[in-house]
Symmetry: C2
Subunit: 362 residues, 2 copies
Amino acid sequence: MSYERENIKRLKAYTPGEQPRAAEIIKLNTNENPYPPVEAIMHSLTEVQGEQLRKYPPATAQEFRDSAAKAHDVQSSQIIATNGSDELLRLAITCYCEPSGDTEGTQGGLGLTDPTYSLYNVLANIHDTPMFVVPLEDEYAMPADLAKQWNDAGCKLAMIVNPHAPSGRAYSLDQIKQIASDFNGIIIVDEAYADFAEEDAVELVKENSGFDNVLISRTLSKGYSLAGLRFGYGIAPAPIIDTLDKARDSYNTDYISQKLATAAINAREDVAKSWDKVKSERSRVEKALVAMGYKVYPSQTNFLLAMPPVDAPDAETIYQKLAEKYIFIRHFDHPNMCDKIRISMGTPAQNDALLKALEELK
Amino acid sequence: MSYERENIKRLKAYTPGEQPRAAEIIKLNTNENPYPPVEAIMHSLTEVQGEQLRKYPPATAQEFRDSAAKAHDVQSSQIIATNGSDELLRLAITCYCEPSGDTEGTQGGLGLTDPTYSLYNVLANIHDTPMFVVPLEDEYAMPADLAKQWNDAGCKLAMIVNPHAPSGRAYSLDQIKQIASDFNGIIIVDEAYADFAEEDAVELVKENSGFDNVLISRTLSKGYSLAGLRFGYGIAPAPIIDTLDKARDSYNTDYISQKLATAAINAREDVAKSWDKVKSERSRVEKALVAMGYKVYPSQTNFLLAMPPVDAPDAETIYQKLAEKYIFIRHFDHPNMCDKIRISMGTPAQNDALLKALEELK
């Protein structure tokens, strides 16, 4: 007998990029940082004592909150620490979206764009909240009436990822401000890639910003080379943080990850050196791909979305041929995306190997 | 403006026991193991490499699942790893309970007993699923018609904690079997304290057990001295695991906790030495409390529930007086519990200090 709720029965889980096990691979498929965590982070790991593992961890990760608040020039009460930013996104849906299935149309539901980070859809389905999805325009531009469309649909929460995934495009702070101003619900700005971008939206969550509805999502997975640690955080006006805080698991982040995350945020200046290297490689790889005839979308992330030229194999074939050479990139089986490949920036040597392999495919 | 859903607005978050910061305290209030994690666990921590933190962790914690399956003599497909057992409990509510508020009475809701582990109630409120709560009988006995009452109320999921918290009482395997047989939905047997008990319900989830509706919840927080790590797991028939797996966050457990949890399960025989010490102390402290006139409830956990004699101060006063001496125990502000104190078993020296302080209070 199946005991599942109907929405769970229908659910297709989120598909992460592959995590190949072979040793000698070049892994440019899940937007990890190609450089290892900085020394300060690894050093803090050596300081972990058994006594600290024996006891329950600080429930709200207060030390991390203090450090993150300092880094972003906000109050500690404006920071929530989460088990990866996945948890933050889930908590927001739990707290703001109605689990009404489709019984009331899209009232109380989640506003999205298409394409966007594919996890949002999965999280909404788990909660059984309806979605209202607005297609992006050419070159992944946001429609001018995006917030109005969400409002008309009755959305209580909306999510945009900026810079955008999977395209890499950065929307301007003015655009984000306009959406926050126009939208009647809470707007999540998922800044998973902000460390590689020119602007962020932190000023919109500061006290006296005039906004009470902006929640910024951050992760240590990409910028801080800590995907294995599962640590994310939210920055928002304190009332939003208080709300999310009520719905999180009692001890949602563990002692070790709190300690390493705090070390990471405090070592921000050192960590930022890897961001510069990634951005420099992004520029170099983009030029090389353009020279090969690829259409490359302007990116402010640690990846590039690229459409192969007519004289090259199609995107899916390229993905497969590279995999045979143990070079893993990402290909999405999605209507607007299947003619493109997404390449996470690797080290210069890894990127050279990729470019060489792409040349050989032509 | 408040954007919260109504059930979240009403929500009172779970109250964990205090985590006092002073150095020289005796902490007998949150059922942690008084002994540090075993050497094998701490050694595995020293093996963590930056490269492993840089990449996303194995999504399903397969190595841990293999080890836990071996330890319990079940299949790996019958194990799910979670960010503390809190996550497991939440996932079960998400997958099996309807978030209908009280619009349909208790249909599709969660069956509980009273008293029980206070987190269950909070998780149900977060999901906005109705609860049907059956009072326990004298000495925290389960009513013979417990499952029937849950069935009549339309519960889809029920939770019992065995051994019971906060009383410490162990229900027999036959009783659990009867409830699983009588109940029409999924029954969670929360075995947070099973490491200190004589029986567990693992045989009910084995293939050919005849049951398809039993989900056992385990944690490494107490038995394995790893409360700071946040690692729990579920043991159940594979279809239940498959269901829960669809609803968990994509990478719900981090690389380090997977590694340490695997080392912990593999070092089970060594870890069990602390369980013997705790049980021996439980017996000694129980006798001492009884000699002081306390009514002590038979416990198969790592704590004792005790009612002070008439010539002693009341339970709340005892709690406060001990706190002044930096000895922290637990007192619950709950109708059936407020005349009792709950004491986690410490080291022999900590327990001696507790007993001495209690003597002085008389």
